[in-house]
């Protein structure tokens, strides 16, 4: 390891590696500091599967064009307008080129095979998933001569007047050390794995959150930057959260703990009461709202309840459903009040109106006369065994971040651009995502801004 680098990259995920590769290709000497051990390198990127990019025509891997304008409209819809239009449009434009650039870095795509995730037109899938994608980026980075250190958690940043000077880090073997560099790229993720920090905004409820991804994204670098005068962006309570199996591990359960059976049944809270229209919308929008809905329920727990007729209608699940021959037996196993659950199901069944069931479109199977209504895909729950999945909020990533400009350069609290500090990925996702989420955007933000940040950091360092 040489003592002073042109570009120091903090983090080890998609954003960090794209930045490192692009800086190195720009002629800079680059060091990547990854806080996690080698196996856990690449944070949440390890768990990803696809990326959303604009493209003008169908390709080998994508079934049709997805224009910049359409991408923009999707983003506008999910964020409800809470996005920085200039940055977002810039990102969407750049995303077109990223589709090819990322392949040049050794990443491989696969044709979308699975029928479950109707994303074959908008999103490209990594062959072998996110860890395969990361492995390819690491191989390329190392081949280009980027230095990488694992178990290298940054614990402090020396910043003077908006200018990065050095980073301090703690390493289990070599102890504390200080590393100086001409430019900095911060790509160390959000703070979703920091329950204490989450509690500041969510209160005690955060104790019941499950963190879907890496335990290493504790937001320490984000906090240092905000404390040292970088401008904050985004609402700290906004994040990407889905309903995941309550039996999932506290951290790092990844994609396989998700449930998408909501439309095939009803969802009740611990008082056996329904609380939201389970038939409101199709995937992926419905996927992204249930985390928040469950977070607002008492003890942050809910139960998806369905019957044996629908079990093969959704993806196989990691944890088997909990089963009962009668509603009362099921309630007993879930520790719910059997009378209350029976009442909820009876009332629901009575409210179901006949229709033609089709879970691929917003069909005409509706309820009448109950609140909340189920506005699509409503069918009676009446064929034993009765089945249930317990679910809790599963936090994917947070949106509070550092403000950046089109060069991915951090802006200081007074609005001035930093001389040599850049940010990419989750740590600045809030610039684009004020709220909401559209599948595959996490990787778009990381790749697009990572590549820009690396290029600009290298340019600064070599001037």
């Amino acid at each position: 390891m040489s003592s002073k680098y042109d570009v120091l990259v903090i983090g080890g995920g998609n954003a960090a590696l794209c930045a490192a590769i692009s800086a190195r290709r720009g002629g800079a000497s680059v060091l990547v500091l990854e806080g996690a051990p080698k196996f856990y390198r690449g944070g949440n990127t390890r768990h990803t599967r696809n990326m959303r990019c604009a493209h003008d025509a169908a390709t080998e891997i994508l079934t049709g064009p997805y224009t910049e304008e359409e991408f923009w409209e999707d983003l506008l819809r999910v964020t409800g307008g809470k996005t920085d239009e200039v940055l977002a449009r810039h990102m969407i434009r750049e995303s077109k080129d990223i589709l090819n650039w990322i392949v040049e870095q050794g990443v491989r795509w696969q044709p979308s095979l699975g029928g479950t995730l109707s994303l074959g037109r908008t999103n490209s899938f990594f062959l072998g998933g996110g860890r395969a994608m990361l492995n390819a980026l690491y191989l390329t980075a190392e081949r280009l001569g980027v230095d990488v250190e694992y178990d290298a958690e940054v614990t402090d940043l020396v910043i003077e007047d908006g200018m990065f000077l050095a980073a301090r880090l703690k390493r289990p073997i070599n102890g504390e050390t200080e590393i100086r560099a001409t430019s900095l790229v911060a790509a160390a993720g959000g703070f979703e794995a920091n329950i204490e920090w989450l509690k500041q905004y969510w209160g005690e409820a955060a104790d019941n959150f499950l963190i879907r991804g890496t335990p290493y994204n504790r937001g320490s670098v984000l906090k240092m930057l905000l404390d040292k005068g970088v401008q904050e962006v985004g609402d700290p309570t906004q994040c990407h959260a889905v309903a995941i199996d309550a039996r999932a591990p506290k951290f790092d359960g990844g994609i396989i703990t998700r449930h998408d059976s909501v439309v095939f049944g009803i969802v009740v809270n611990k008082h056996s009461q329904r609380f939201y229209d389970e038939g409101e919308d199709i995937w992926p929008k419905r996927y992204a709202i249930w985390g928040r809905l469950v977070a607002a329920q008492p003890d942050q727990i809910a139960y998806i309840i369905f019957d044996s007729t629908v079990v093969t209608s959704f993806m196989p699940t990691l944890f088997p459903p909990i089963a009962g021959q009668t509603v009362a037996e099921l309630a007993g196993k879930l520790e719910l009040d059997p009378v209350a659950l029976e009442k909820t199901i009876t009332e629901f069944n009575a409210a179901v109106r006949p229709g033609t069931f089709d879970h691929t479109v917003l069909d005409d199977c509706v309820t009448e006369g109950i609140t909340p209504a189920k506005t699509h895909w409503a069918r009676r729950i009446e064929t034993p065994p009765y089945l249930a999945y317990p679910v809790r909020p599963g936090i994917t990533f947070t949106y509070l971040g550092t403000r950046v400009n089109k060069e991915s350069r951090m802006l200081m609290a007074d609005g001035r651009p930093s001389a040599n500090m850049f940010a990419a990925g989750e740590i600045m996702a809030g610039n684009v995502l004020g709220k909401g989420y559209a599948a595959g955007m996490g990787m778009t933000i990381g790749s697009v801004f990572g590549r820009i940040a690396g290029r600009e950091a290298a340019k600064h360092a070599r001037n």
Binding site: R108, L127, G128, G129, M315
Partner: protein, 368 residues
């Protein structure tokens, strides 16, 4: 739940993978798994034999150890695969040979070679054994052609019969409808897939060996071994035809077809097994079925020995070493034949059957 602990573990992993599916583009195992929601013993043995042990799904998995989900598909399927050979072996009484494989193979090999040498000594006086024999029929001065043909056809037919019986049991267990017939198209597809080792490619970049950097080495050595074996087999077949149809007796001149085929094959059988052995000893231990090391190495060694003695015989056949070398070579080939149904050789047969089944399932899906 299942017959064995490893099948329980394979079931657990397939449940994890089926709710994940990130690896579906890597090989045939994952798409085949996705066609099922529950896994019988036969299903798991089918999936295990579809796996080519390229290692990609281990290196690419976010849940491989030390993650608490502890997902190690290549090793689990390798163990299940090895156990499936024994489970379907014919006759069942000999299935134990698989577990003590290295030992069994070395004993059989040693005994066969010794038997051939002793047989030669008994048949011939020392002068003949160490004499220089040239020209057509030279080999048969040591062992009459009819005796040779009888011995080897018996061993060969036994091996074929035992293999057919085993693979029949396997096919019955994995086929739907049970015992269903394979169609020509699926067989042709499977021949292509097996011939090019389509699924030993880590999804396109090669096989994962000692670390997360893939290479094509194992594929290359496997090709050398496999095609080496086929070439040797072809050489023997052509020679048999020469003998009976054209009345031309071995040994043949170096430019003649049996020798050309045998030489190319012999080179493959020497270089291939050495390469496979080195690749195996360097491979990341977490990908390997350590218990079955003996079986794998035993088989590689047998092929190597067959290739080596054959090549030495070719080089030295006009010297006094011919007699002893011929005895050794015939011993090695004989041992290879009779151990075939009880060693790693069967992996090719079962894998082929699994590939036929997979091709069939894919066609069924495309058709429906």
């Amino acid at each position: 739940m299942h017959g064995t602990r490893i099948l329980d573990e394979a079931d657990r992993l397939m449940t994890v993978c089926n709710s994940c599916r990130y690896c579906e583009g890597l090989c045939a195992v994952f798409p085949a798994m996705e066609m099922r929601r529950a896994f019988s013993d036969g299903d798991l043995n089918y999936l295990a034999n579809l796996c080519h042990s390229c290692g990609a799904c281990y290196v690419d998995c976010q849940f491989s150890p030390p993650h608490e989900f502890n997902v190690n598909v290549p090793r689990t399927l390798a163990v299940a695969r090895a156990e499936s050979y024994a489970a379907y072996a014919w006759p069942q009484a000999l299935s134990g040979a698989f577990t003590r494989n290295g030992l069994v193979i070395s004993i059989v090999a040693a005994l066969s070679m010794a038997a051939f040498i002793l047989g030669f000594v008994a048949l011939n006086d020392r002068a003949v054994l160490f004499g220089v024999h040239t020209g057509p029929g030279a080999f048969y001065r040591l062992l009459p052609h009819n005796a040779m043909a009888a011995l080897f056809s018996a061993a060969f037919l036994y091996a074929i019969f035992a293999l057919v019986m085993s693979v029949r049991a396997f096919w019955r267990d994995i086929g739907t409808p049970i015992g269903g017939r394979a169609d020509g198209g699926s067989i042709f597809q499977a021949i292509r897939d097996a011939g090019e080792l389509r699924y030993l490619h880590g999804g396109g970049v090669g096989c994962y060996n000692e670390d997360e950097k893939p290479t094509d080495r194992r594929k290359l050595y496997h090709h050398l071994t496999f095609y080496g074996f086929l070439l040797c087999f072809a050489a023997t077949s052509v020679a048999t035809l020469y003998h009976y149809l054209l009345a031309r007796e071995a040994p043949y001149p170096w430019w003649d077809l049996p020798v050309v085929l045998g030489t190319l094959g012999g080179i493959g059988l020497i270089v291939g097994p050495i390469g496979l052995f080195i690749a195996k000893s360097r491979r990341a231990p977490e990908l390997l079925d350590a218990q079955r090391y003996g079986m794998d190495v035993g088989f590689i060694a047998m092929l190597f020995l067959t290739g080596l003695t054959g090549m030495l015989l070719l080089l030295l056949r006009e010297t006094a070493a011919m007699g002893p070398l011929l005895a050794l070579h015939l011993g090695a080939v004989f041992a290879l034949f009779i151990t075939m149904p009880y060693g790693k050789f069967v992996h090719g047969i079962y894998r082929f059957a699994a590939l036929v089944r997979y091709a069939q399932e894919r066609r069924g899906e495309a058709g429906s």
